[in-house]
Amino acid sequence: MRKLKNVLLLCLTLAMVTGLATQATPADPIKIAFVDPLSGPFAATGENGLNQFKYAAEAINKSGGMLGRQLEIVGFDNKVSPQESLIQLKKVIGDGIPFVFQGNSSGVAHAISDAVQKHNERNAGNRVLYLNYSAVDPALTNDKCHFWHFRFDAEADMKMAALTDVIAANKNIKKMYIIGQDYSFGKAVADGAVAMLGKKRPDVQIVGNELHPIGKVKDFSPYVQKIVASGADAVITGNWGADMVALAKAANDGGLKVPFYTYYAASDGVTAAIGAAGVDRIRLVHESHPGNPNAPKALSEYITGYRKLHPQNDVNQPRIHTALNMLALAVKKAGTVDVDKVAAALEGMEYTNLSGDQVIMRRQDHQLQMPIYISVHTNKNIQHDLDASGFGLSLESKVDRDKATQPTTCKMQRPS
């Protein structure tokens, strides 16, 4: 009995230590939370994102910071787990940080968005703003939209609209094969492709629409065989990470020469791993100029500066620069870090990004409107390569902002 009491006392002490360790220290700089994976399989992606945030913040600090205060990016490791993200969010709130950036995984984004909305509704005096720089599930700015969420990446449907525009213009493509990971994003890509291709090019035959389990496929050769057998002229895939690399390699081994239209087949080791297997085969749809050829001067300098600091990593998300600068402008405009006022200032804001494009934060659903780029994986004429591999992306086509824009079902509720 006494033993158990001692154990309980020990727990009590431990808990007190816990409390002390998490004690927030009052700080002068404006803190901005970065909640993304900093350990585990996706740590490389998270670390690189964090470094890009720090790099962008440094530039803002050099030109005076926000409201005369310096920015400080604080990393929180969410291990790409929804549960862990919520714990980290509690820490963020406990530390009194008003702004939260997150991007990796739509599942996590939904969890955070939902939690932020509930928290803000329940705690009017202590709100936080969720700034989504990378999670592209359309639902976040449609059915699940709310006042305290802003998205700075192009959502999946915008990218698909651009992609199908390009495909529609290519008369050589008669048969299309769609393959993706069996989860919400993979399905969204497949559904979007079928719907939009059906509208823009009804003559294109969908010869395959395949979902495979995410992260479980050991060998993609059987899938490649099916693609070959279907006689497809092109492939659309939302695959990322190891699934993307393995698919590209299997396609190369199986002698499949058709173009692959992808969302995430670049950087964070993927470009290097695909290497020669992807040349002139892999195409990527993204929200910024790829840096080759003839990158806009601002972007080129930005990339060069970053590569000096981090020789192995890439500026794979120039939207981070956009997001942080737009936040800084909104704070300046609101004259305060009060979340509701900053959010109001962000609505409808216009901004010229590193690619020289005029982007606008749509008031209706908080989705940033921007042009979309499509590039090809190659090692020819590459000024800014990726993964220091000699391979990089080269611009093929650009779809204008008003062509890429998508309607929204969002009915925004604003706090009165």
Binding site: L211, S221, P222, Q225, A229, K249, G255, A273
Partner: protein, 316 residues
């Protein structure tokens, strides 16, 4: 259609033989020591990473020999200084220990080689399509994989049936405890067997790394399937492991190749179409989508019908 069937058979064979290389080591270890080595796939991963590093220094071919030797030595060390310690606490403790080893190896690999996938490439000498058939290519490297795994299979078979050591191993597979009676130094035999088992896994890693990818999650992707193979085949049975490897290898490739939905299958076996509303989620799923979970279904099924596995004789 012929193209799909032919290539499915080939790919199934390649994958099945790869599974056998892993499961044979696992079976040897289990058969002799009663230990199910949870970290077995981790040694497979180490094989791939060692080979990746060695290949860039001394070339692929020396790496093919060196990496398994190194991993085998490492395995022997793990047995000598880890497994032997927990042996007296029983098989569950040993399983827990190897589970811990798997975690630590995965983390150490990330620490040493970093988290992103490594671009461990097929050696240039084998980087060409062996033949084209029906508009599709069969890479030479896959033929090489098949060759290596068949060679290993023949090698194991020869050792087991033609040498004294093999006879002892065979005897101890069916009658554990017998080695001790024959007056052998049991701890040393265990250490050697464990090392060899790990080396076999490493060979699989060396040759599979360029095709299946060399990344920190590669052990987890293959690990569970290998356990399924040895349990389905029957714990401790080498022939069982062989049959189960090929069965699961071809099962998975063929399931992917088939454009059939679960609903079609259910209707074919007589489930009325009216059930489709109630089972909507399952109904629309294709067999290809569930391909990777088929081994686990097979495991559950086999254990319900024949608890010792297909070829197993031992209760554990």
């Amino acid at each position: 259609m012929e193209q799909i069937v032919l290539f499915s058979i080939l790919n199934g064979l390649v994958f099945g033989m790869l599974l056998f290389m892993l499961s044979s080591g696992l079976t040897l270890i289990f058969g002799m020591m009663g230990v199910l080595n949870f970290a077995h796939a981790s040694f497979y991963m180490l094989g791939a990473y060692f080979a990746y590093t060695l290949a860039s220094r001394v070339g692929f071919w020396p790496a093919l020999v060196l990496a398994p030797v190194l991993v085998g030595l490492l395995g022997a060390l793990v047995e000598r200084h880890g497994l032997r310690r927990v042996h007296r606490f029983g098989h569950v403790a040993e399983l827990i220990f190897t589970f811990g080893v798997a975690i630590v190896i995965e983390e150490l690999v990330q620490l040493v080689w970093g988290r992103p996938a490594k671009s461990y490439q097929v050696p240039a000498a084998l980087d060409f399509p062996l033949f084209h058939l029906f508009g599709s290519a069969f890479p030479a490297y896959k033929a090489f994989m098949l060759l290596v795994s068949v060679a290993i299979f023949v090698f194991i078979f020869a050792i087991l049936t033609r040498t004294r050591a093999g006879l002892i191993i065979q005897a101890s597979l069916t009658h554990p405890g017998m080695v001790a009676m024959l007056g052998h130094n049991v701890p040393r035999v265990f250490m050697i067997v464990f090392g060899i088992g790990c080396a076999l896994a490493a060979v699989a890693g060396v040759i599979a790394g360029p095709v299946l990818g060399t990344f920190p999650g590669m052990a987890q992707v293959l690990g569970s399937v290998v356990f399924v193979v040895v349990v389905v085949g029957g714990l401790g049975s080498l022939s069982g492991a062989f049959v189960a490897s090929l069965l699961i290898g071809t099962l998975q490739t063929f399931a992917v190749a088939l454009n059939v939905s679960v609903g079609n299958v259910l209707m074919a076996v007589g489930v009325p179409a009216a059930a489709s509303a109630a089972l909507h989620d399952v109904w629309k799923v294709t067999v290809a989508q569930v391909a990777p979970i088929l081994p686990y279904l097979l495991l559950v099924l086999v254990l319900m019908i024949r608890p010792t596995g297909l070829f197993g004789t031992r209760e554990t």
